[in-house]
Symmetry: C2
């Protein structure tokens, strides 16, 4: 069993109720990663809804998650021929942590026109590039998520060298450290878990996600995922962060936007 | 009473239950506009939640709305010091049409850093520009929404001249025809109601919204709103549509993304 599957596993205990465990293995410096938490809710929904893949899922983060036992309550809102819509709320110690609404589909049957007005990141081969976590000073203990994923960047981010670049955008490769294949569920995690928030490059190191919406746009091909992160508008302490994940075939596999609150 | 306020009015009939009316005055060629329907749900949430403004709201469109009596069921999920989160479902004739989840805030108190890495649309004065609806051939009856809003464009869209430009993006001015001032609620409508879908410029005239997320980023100033619409990825029959609304002071007032299904 791959790490991501073990740590997002849900056990059905009644109709619309699932037992889960928020592990401490996907921690950032601020605790369990939000994409990881959303993926637990998404896994419960993939059981509760009659469609297999998250097409669009939105999570609102109510409280910072902590490792420990959790429960997901799900509700089927509508099951149609093409789409199924439902809601999920993840709670821990009796307190709601995350509420989500999602529409699922069967992406193996998606057909129709394809036209792209954008390009995947033009990244050199992943094997020729550095691991940005290698630049974290030796005195700082890496959070556990650093052991779960592998990241490669074309150049070390400015903020890790103590000089934020002033440009809140970046491109990188990412994959699971244990070789787990990509699927729609892993994309729900990677849009949040693959990178530091873009605003670290403007010197904002403490931020929290208010809301995260992920669109899974294609079944991802095998191999490294090419990612692009960007913030374009910081206003009155809020910012959006856009994330794209492209697969090895040059398909846009997922696209996300989150609204973050900067806590400076 | 302005048209938008009359037509999004909700009447509380019990805790978490509101009576509403989907009017036929905000119809596109395909029926009541989705942004209008979402604004009805948002209005119910602004009563049900202890915060006044939609900061981020996501609607999943379950069935095509029809004019007629409607009901909104709301649920308060969490009320915090800074944010309040809730859910709303709009039904009509006993059938769910829209389900939404939202986090509300008081935008009059939003403070914190502002840095923009984007520019508002560089549009000539609205008064010097044409109304694109003037280009609709005389034989075609305009849908009712055309009487509720005023739109000005720098040049007539290609698709209205029978020649889609091939570029699914556009910029335009918009405001209410009856002079209603802008507020966060009107932005929830305008991100969907102000423009034809961007994909009309690649010849796709029939599409439906699966999901729409709106971030209200600032209290909008008086006057015309400058809008930018863009689709960058059409894949297997799905596309995202991004929308920005900038106010007269040059603030990003709202940003949205919707996932649409192209039905060609």
């Amino acid at each position: 069993l791959y790490e991501f599957d073990a740590d997002t596993a849900v056990e059905k205990i009644a109709d619309g109720r699932y037992r889960a465990e928020i592990t401490d293995r996907w921690n950032t410096f601020a605790g369990p990663n939000g994409g990881y938490i959303l993926a637990i809710a998404a896994r419960a929904l993939s059981d509760a809804l009659p469609m297999p893949h998250p097409l669009t899922i939105t999570g609102h983060f109510l409280r910072p998650p902590k490792p420990g036992p959790a429960e997901v309550r799900t509700e089927l809102i509508k099951a149609g021929r093409r789409h199924a819509t439902g809601a999920a709320t993840l709670s821990s110690e009796g307190t709601d942590i995350l509420t989500a609404v999602a529409t699922y589909a069967d992406l193996t049957t998606a057909s129709g026109r394809t036209v792209l007005f954008n390009e995947p990141p033009a990244l050199p081969d992943a094997d020729s590039l550095p691991d940005p976590l290698g630049a974290i000073p030796p005195g700082i203990e890496l959070p556990s998520i650093a052991k779960r994923i592998e990241v490669r960047v074309p150049e070390l981010p400015g903020f890790l060298k103590g000089k934020p670049s002033g440009d809140p955008s970046a491109e990188m490769w990412v994959r699971f450290a244990d070789g787990r294949p990509q699927d729609p569920l892993s994309l729900v995690f990677f849009v949040d878990g693959a990178a530091f928030p873009a605003v670290v490059e403007i010197g904002e190191f403490v931020s929290s996600t208010v809301e995260l919406t992920v669109h899974v746009r294609a079944l991802p091909a095998e191999g490294w995922l090419a990612c692009r992160i960007r913030t374009r508008h910081v206003e009155s302490g809020y910012a959006e962060e856009d994330f794209e994940i492209w697969d090895a075939r040059g398909s846009l596999a997922a696209q996300s936007r989150q609204l973050i609150l900067i806590q400076s």
